[in-house]
Amino acid sequence: MVEGSIQGNGQPPPEAGPQAEEEIEVQGRLGLARGAEQARRALLNRPRFSLRLQIFLGNALAFLIAIAIAIALVASFHRMESKIRFLEIVNDYVMEVEQARRFEKNFFLYGTNLSDAQDNVFKAENILSRNAEELAAIMGAGWREEMLPNLHRYEQLLEKLGQQPQSDQALSKQERRRVQSQVRGQGQQMVSAALGLLSKEKTALAEVLTRSRLLLFYSVGLLLLCMALNAYLLGSRMLSSINRFGQYAHRIASGDFTPLTPSKRYRDEFTELALAINSMIEELEDREAVLVQSHKMRAVGTLTAGVAHELNNPMNNITLTAHMLQEDYADLDDQERLEMIGDVVGEASRAKKIISNLLDFARESGSQLEPLDLPELLRETIALASNQIKLSGIKIDFQASGNLPRVHGDSQQLRQVFLNLILNAIDASSKGGQIQVLVLPADEPNYLAVKVIDSGSGIPAHILPSIFDPFFTTKGKGKGTGLGLSVSQGIVAKHGGRIRVSSQEKQGATFTVVLPVTTIPAELGAKK
């Protein structure tokens, strides 16, 4: 048994959620002409945030970050540069001072001239005053108090020491020794202060270097992160839209022609695509309407053969009666004449009834939605096919559960679906066969099921998956277009339902149409 392997509408029916929502859904699927314009407005009536803008913003952000990194690096290099310059100055200063001390030592040891040492002290002083700005930048305004007094004092001491022994102010030997030790101490202090400064600034430079390396490292990381995030956001935005449109395509293919509605708060390039798809949907719908109508006319054609045959009976009765009335007019009494004329009148109205059902069905009518009594609709449909049924010598057995809720739909279109299933069942049945038509609540709540069961030869399992395909037919050339089930499936899908088939070879086939029930009270719906 191949059971339920084919579903009319690719998807299971929506879960039985709140009923009001379902109703909106059903109406939404059918009020399409209005919906298209509404959807168009809703699609356009959103702030625009295009993919192009997102790409631009992403790149601009990356660019800004890059600029910030460059500025930070330049600033950091500048700081390093001034530190290095400072170190050079201090280094020069230290060299001069050390040179002075070497001369000072020579003076103490060998009694050489002190003027060389003074020269160096002067150069050192010169270095300091020449680079006053750089020093101030690093050490602050107090650098003079920190460096100069020591230098001056050293200079004075040297000068004192340098005075010739024979001059007036010459120092006593004792005094000289004291000055000597003072000079030595002052020189040492100066060198060690400068060296201290040097090493402190070297550490500071190393710190700046480390910091700028870290800055570079982190900012490149930030840039990469930013670009990755941008690529991720852009990619996921595009992929999600592409996926969404893929789903739309499946939905439209299954016959659901609801226009696309906004799914995001902004519009972008995909909005144009959505608009194009909406106009395609409109076009498809128009075409399907033509297809449905032409298929209906085909069904009318099939029914016409039965009607023509059935019309023969009243026609024959009228012909025979009229001829006999003409032939025997003189011999008949009034009572007999009246009886015969009554027969003619009765048969004429019988003929009219035979064709009026068909004319009703054939009449082109706009799509009108109303709450429908499904058993009544099926009774009418069976009546419509009754000539065919009689002609084929087939029994039809109709059963409906009592007290069924109504379904919301287009009676003409649904009649077309059921007529198609019944005519198919007639074709599949052999003479003396039986067709069962059942209306009952479906397995899932809030759905009704119509089953058309024939006792024909069944549908082979290998063609079962194809029977809803357009142009697929098992009937002979010129007998079937292969559009019946495809069109029926489209109609049922539009009503929010689906068609299923199950068949076992040699045991007939069962077609089940499942339709959602309406939740509008019947009186209310009828007033519309």
Binding site: N312, N316, N317, L320, T321, M324, D328, G393
Partner: protein
């Protein structure tokens, strides 16, 4: 048994029998009219008719079964089938199965009279169909 042609007319449309019974009586036929094939078959099981006129399409038992029954039971009887307009293939099938002739709905009383006269001729008991024609012309 009278000299009249014994005719059984079977059609599920009552008006057909009502009109054809007097029409055929005029050309000298004794007509038994049936609407229910079962009853007709029951009657034919006992009585041999010269001519059996039956509609092909009926609800319970169709004309083909009636034809087969008559052919087996009374091979001498002539069976005339009444067919619908769209059922020429069935009519042909009936002819192959041994029906004497067929007549398509809608038909005039004279159409059937003519076929019955032909059947009577084939049976060797001519009926005066022309007389009726003449009477109509004169009347």
């Amino acid at each position: 048994m009278s000299d009249n042609l014994q005719v059984l007319l079977l059609d599920d449309e009552p008006i057909v029998g009502r009109r054809l019974k007097p029409a055929l009586a005029k050309i000298g036929c004794d007509v038994d009219v049936f609407e229910d094939p079962e009853q007709a078959l029951a009657k034919m099981a006992q009585k041999e008719y010269d001519v059996v006129v039956t509609d092909i399409r009926m609800d319970q038992i169709d004309g083909m079964q009636v034809l087969e029954f008559v052919r087996d039971r009374w091979p001498r009887s002539k069976v005339i089938m009444i067919t619908g307009y769209a059922m020429m293939s069935l009519a042909r099938e009936a002819m192959e199965k041994g029906a004497f002739d067929f007549i398509a709905k809608p038909f005039k009383p004279d159409d059937l009279r003519r076929v019955i006269a032909k059947a009577a001729h084939a049976l060797g008991s001519d009926i005066d169909f022309e007389a009726v024609e003449m009477e109509k012309v004169n009347g």
